[in-house]
């Protein structure tokens, strides 16, 4: 039984942007209750506000209406309990992998720092590359280093904004498996934004389907398949079809089918 101690709760969240003196509503009335240790996928068209939602949770963007709490604590500014990974790896090119991973580590003894760095580099499978520079790494490796950096402070929630979007299709599938491994080991709450429906189903415990302009939650689809999931299984296909119809508005009655 997971405790409600570190649940991420979003209530009535709304956010407007001022574009050319016009108020554009980017997010409208978002309500979410994410349990500790869950893996949530968010799918939606580009521009539906899903990245903005992540940034609001991370504390990088402020909002107009609503409440965001983690374990009862209100979240306003960035903090150690939330980490984020972006589509670009955003590793500082003048720092080695080691120094990039330890970027946000403060108030620790040298020995403690070294151990955390070594643990996390090992966690993402980059052992041996501690002293490499980002330009010497492949796209997948650089993104792994970025993940290690985001996890170094042991955040309770990890936000991933289309983290594998810049990688080629094969590397993407490899990284999806990796992130599952990391999730199973660290048990961090994961919130992943993607426009890849297969990725959302493969990874998420629940899939949040968002509509755009304004961004609202259209539907929340639970994925109760056991892991590792088979992308070509019948159940996988059923969910895929369900999400498809959410986006492409085919009028059809679907049989709700749970394993």
């Amino acid at each position: 039984m997971s405790s409600s101690e570190n649940n991420l709760v979003i209530k009535n969240l709304s956010k407007c942007f001022n574009v050319n003196n016009e108020e554009v509503m980017v997010l409208q009335n978002i309500n979410l209750d994410i349990r500790e240790g869950e893996f949530i996928s968010i799918v939606g068209h580009s521009g539906c506000g899903k990245s903005t939602l992540l940034k609001i949770i991370a504390g990088l963007v402020d909002f107009d209406v609503g409440l965001v709490t983690l374990g009862g604590q209100e979240l306003k500014k960035p903090g150690k309990e939330r980490g984020m990974v972006f589509q670009e790896h955003r590793l500082l090119p003048w720092l080695t992998v080691k120094d990039n991973v330890s970027f946000g580590l403060y108030n620790l003894s040298k020995a403690e720092k070294e151990k955390i760095i070594a643990d996390h580099i090992d966690l993402v499978g980059l052992k041996g590359f501690e002293n490499a520079y980002p330009h010497q790494l492949s796209g997948g490796m650089a993104q792994r280093a970025a993940i290690a950096r985001s996890l170094a402070n042991r955040p309770k929630v990890l936000l991933l904004d289309e983290p594998f979007g810049a990688l080629d299709a094969l590397t993407r599938i490899q990284m999806q498996k990796e992130i599952l491994k990391i999730w199973e080991k660290e048990k961090t709450t994961m919130i992943l934004v993607t426009h890849d429906i297969d990725e959302a189903i493969y990874l998420g415990d629940r899939i949040i389907v968002m509509s755009s302009r304004p961004g609202t939650i259209k539907e929340i689809i639970p994925v109760q398949l056991s892991r590792p999931r088979d992308r070509s299984s019948h159940d996988f296909g059923t969910i895929r079809k369900k999400i498809f119809t959410e986006f492409f508005k085919e009028e059809e009655t679907l049989l709700e089918y749970y394993l």
Partner: protein, 278 residues
């Protein structure tokens, strides 16, 4: 019949080697570079020699290359060259150092803080719009004709390229890195040390090189107007004495020293930009 292909034919063969050969050998590249880089300088020397040998121009206006060389040796022998170089170089280094410290400090401050930028930019822009040469009479009036006024003139001139390029470099720090820094709540010192400053280095070095060029220009101007020593003074003095050979010799020395200093900065820039994928 032909024992050796003529020089022209050799050049043609090498040219065709570039057209057809996608991977020229390094020795070929070496000779190709010598040919390419050397073509114009050799041409200039040939034209110079021809003009003086055929007496196209009077010796007072265009001295023969030999005369310039002789003047150079004479200046070294009578001690003036070393003294002039020392005096001018000292002034440049002093003024340039002030410009670097002030330029980097204000540049960083104004690049990071919008408020600081607003506070200082109007005054700096105003000063900058008045050409450095127009400032010289006022600076001499205020600081006299001694060393101080020269250093001020040089510092003022070199300050602005360094300032502007530093501001530009810092402002162009990718927002993505700033977001990551915000996310990790890093200290203000680390924000500057690890994000703003390294990101700005390529622009900073451009500013440093431009500033050095201005510093040299300013020292010559300052010495022509109000000095009794230094390379600039010597150039002006030899003009009065119709010694164009001494003049040109000093000009070449200035160009040479400037090139070396520029090369040092370029190599420093390369060393600090190793992380850039070019």
């Amino acid at each position: 019949m032909d024992t050796q292909p003529s020089k022209a034919k050799k050049k043609f063969l090498r040219k065709s080697e570039t057209i057809n050969n996608k991977n020229p050998s390094s020795s070929f590249k070496f000779w190709d570079n010598i040919f390419s880089y050397g073509l114009l300088p050799i041409l200039i020397i040939v034209l110079w020699e021809t003009a003086t040998r055929l007496n196209i121009t009077p010796a007072a206006i265009l001295p023969p290359i030999e005369a310039v060389y002789t003047a150079f040796i004479n200046q070294i022998n009578n001690g003036e060259m070393i003294a002039d170089v020392t005096v001018s170089l000292t002034r440049v280094l002093k003024g340039y150092s002030y410009a670097v410290v002030l330029g980097l400090s204000f540049g960083s401050l104004m690049g990071i803080s919008l408020r600081a930028n607003k506070i200082f930019s109007s005054v700096f822009n105003g000063i900058r719009q008045i050409p450095p040469l127009a400032w010289i009479p006022l600076i001499i009036l205020w600081f006299g004709i001694g060393e101080v006024s020269k250093v001020v003139i040089i510092a003022k001139g070199a300050f602005f390229p360094i300032l502007l390029n530093t501001i530009n470099g810092i402002k162009n720090t990718p927002k993505g890195y700033l977001e990551v820094a915000e996310l990790h709540n890093i200290s203000k010192l680390d924000l500057f040390r690890k994000v703003y400053f390294p990101s700005s280095l390529p622009s900073v070095f451009v500013g440093l090189r431009l500033g050095l060029g201005v510093a040299w220009a300013m020292v010559v101007a300052a010495e022509i107007i109000a000095s009794s020593s230094g390379l600039g003074y010597r150039i002006n003095d030899s003009r009065a004495l119709m010694q164009s050979d001494v003049m040109i010799a000093n000009m070449i020395v200035i160009g040479f020293i400037g090139s070396i200093m520029d090369l040092i900065i370029r190599n420093l820039a390369k060393h600090f930009s190793k992380w850039q994928v070019s």
